[in-house]
Structure formats: C-alpha cells, structure tokens
Symmetry: C2
Subunit: 209 residues, 2 copies
Amino acid sequence: MSEEDKTLIEILEENNPIDIIKYINFVRAPKCGAIATFSGTTRDTFDGKAVVELRYEAYVPMAIRCIKSICTSARETWNLNLIAVAHCLGPVPVGGTSVFIATSSVHRVDALDACQYLIDELKATVPIWKKEVYANGEVWKENSEFLERRTEIGENFQPGPFNSSRPRASPKPGPLNRSSEKKGCCGNKVRVDEERSNKKNDDNTGIHQ
Amino acid sequence: MSEEDKTLIEILEENNPIDIIKYINFVRAPKCGAIATFSGTTRDTFDGKAVVELRYEAYVPMAIRCIKSICTSARETWNLNLIAVAHCLGPVPVGGTSVFIATSSVHRVDALDACQYLIDELKATVPIWKKEVYANGEVWKENSEFLERRTEIGENFQPGPFNSSRPRASPKPGPLNRSSEKKGCCGNKVRVDEERSNKKNDDNTGIHQ
C-alpha cells in the first residue's frame, strides 16, 4: 500500500458534514493498536462575542497540496500507518465539526503525537480562511497561528515540523536534526486574486491579499 | 454542572462494543473548540505471535474509582470541559476498540494533552487485565506500564500525573510543583482474591495475586 493510499484528505463542499466514523474506520487496521483523533468545533463565543457560526473558504488545490505535505512530514517523524484529514467549507454551526484528523499506529505515542502535530501544522500553514459570524456582524479571520508563522518566515524562518511555537510531545530525536532541510509547501500566504475578483459583497479584511 | 456530571466512565460488560459516537457527542459542547480522542485497538500480532483476540477482566468498582481519580487529576492540570472514558470487558477481536477516551476543551492544547495523559495513566494504574489469545494458546498479561509503575512505587515513587516514564506535551507549569502532593488511587496491584476463587480454569500467570 503506497503512502498515497494510506492518506485520505478531503475538503468537503458546503452542506457535507464530516462523517467522523468514516475517517476513524479508514485509519483502523489490524496491525495497529492505536487511533488518535482531533475534532475542531465551532465555539459559541470568541473574544466575548456570541458566535452564530463559522464559514470556511479555501483555495482547494493548494489546501490539499499543503495537507499532503504535512502528512508526509508526519510520516518522516513518526511511525504511522494511516492518516485521514477532513475539512469543511461553508458554514459550520456552533458545536459542529469543521476539521477532523485521525491517525493510526502500532504504538500509541506515534498516533497521539502525530495527531497533535498535524492539527498544529494545519492551522499554521494551510490556506483555509474562516469568517466569524456574530449575532451583530461578521468578520474574516486569518488564523493567528498562520500569522505567527508568517512573521517567523519574514525573519528567515524555515518551516518544518519542529519550528512551530510550542514544544512537541516525545518526538523521535532524528528528525530534529533534519528540520533545517525541510520546507513546508504553504509557509507564506497564497495569492488567490482570481477568487477575490469573483467574490461578491466581499467584506474581506485583507485575507486574500 | 458538577465535575461528576461532566465525566462519563463506563466499563462495558461482554458483547457491548464501544459506541464511539456516543462518547464524542457526550464531550461535544457549544463552549468548546476542541475534542481529542484515543482508541486502543487489538493488534493482530504481539512479539511476533499471531493474536486472535484480547480478553479483558476488571474488578469493576476499583477500576471505576481509579479512572475517576485520574480524571480528577487531569482536571487539576488542564482546562477541560467534558471527559468520557469507556473500557470493554470480555473478548475484543483484532481491529476492535477495547478502550476509548474523549476530552473536550475551549482550546485544543488542553484536550490533546489531557487525552494523552489519561491513556498513559489508565494503562499504568487502572486494574484491568488482559488475556492475549493466540492461534496456539493464550496468556494473561499484566500491562508492562503497570509493572513499571509498581516498580517505581517500590522505590518510594509517588504516583501523580507527571511521574510516568515519558515526557508530557506542554503541561502547564503549575501542576508540576504539585506532583509530590498527589497520590493515585491504584498505584499498587489490587487484591481480588474473591474473584480469583470464583474463576474456573484460571491460567493466570500471577495477575490476581
């Protein structure tokens, strides 16, 4: 089974909720003793404001390319069997799942640590934007971790699995030495002018610049 | 909502498979942005031998008491909203889930790190035993992490969330200072002689001693 067959990445168009069991069953395998998952869900408040829903947009080919890249990095770092990553586009109501990651491995440390790494990297490097819809307005938000990573890049930062801002759990010692050789695919903001020009009533605050 | 209402612990009798969605939905909440889960599944090989299934036994009241204790420790260490822990008894076939943990929190670091802590502590301190059933025989196994912890206790070890053998991901600095004050409920092997005496054809290799 090739690495590609062992990795399922889906960016789901509007009104296709994430089928968690489908992805858990994708990573389940007889040789594995562990499955770790992470669900990102819409919170009802942000900075003290009542959130009605979040709406996600992505330049899908680039988002998939970036997610593939971080999955490859994860496989270089941990002993993983199967990986599934799904992200919704369109509106996600309060309590709903917008992103889901599942990893499987023989021993649990690999699945658990890789799952944590994958969501950290996804938030920091994958070009998916969200609009926060409040009771009294809405605003496009760039993920703060994306901004941090961009700032780091501006300071000659090399994107890689061990360069994000918080420490990792139990990484294998080897890959730490390789981080200076690695480059993420989406370390800087992707220009999607054609999407912006097609977008009507865009109240974008500078995300698709 | 009391801490007790926010924690669901279930030890499932034989032939009651773990309903993963039930536990994920238990921890899902409007105020949370993150759900982390861990599934422990039966591997098809162990030490090069083909495994047919695992069979679990527990002294249920003590197992529940111990799981409650580690959930309380987790809440003292991370900002968690809801926790669910389920463990099967009886046979679990290859690929099946024997243990499932779900945690939810406002920010993902808490759910992810607590989930990892909970499975580490469950394996190391909760009195649940497994029989590995191979194609050509079967053997009761004490979890190696349980044995390690017992050895540590023999060396005047204080059970607590930061005393297990591998490093934690991003713990808050505070609780590290409290570890010497903490005691797990099940740091040493539980005596369940009455269960042993009721057990027929017991090929136990010294687990219920």
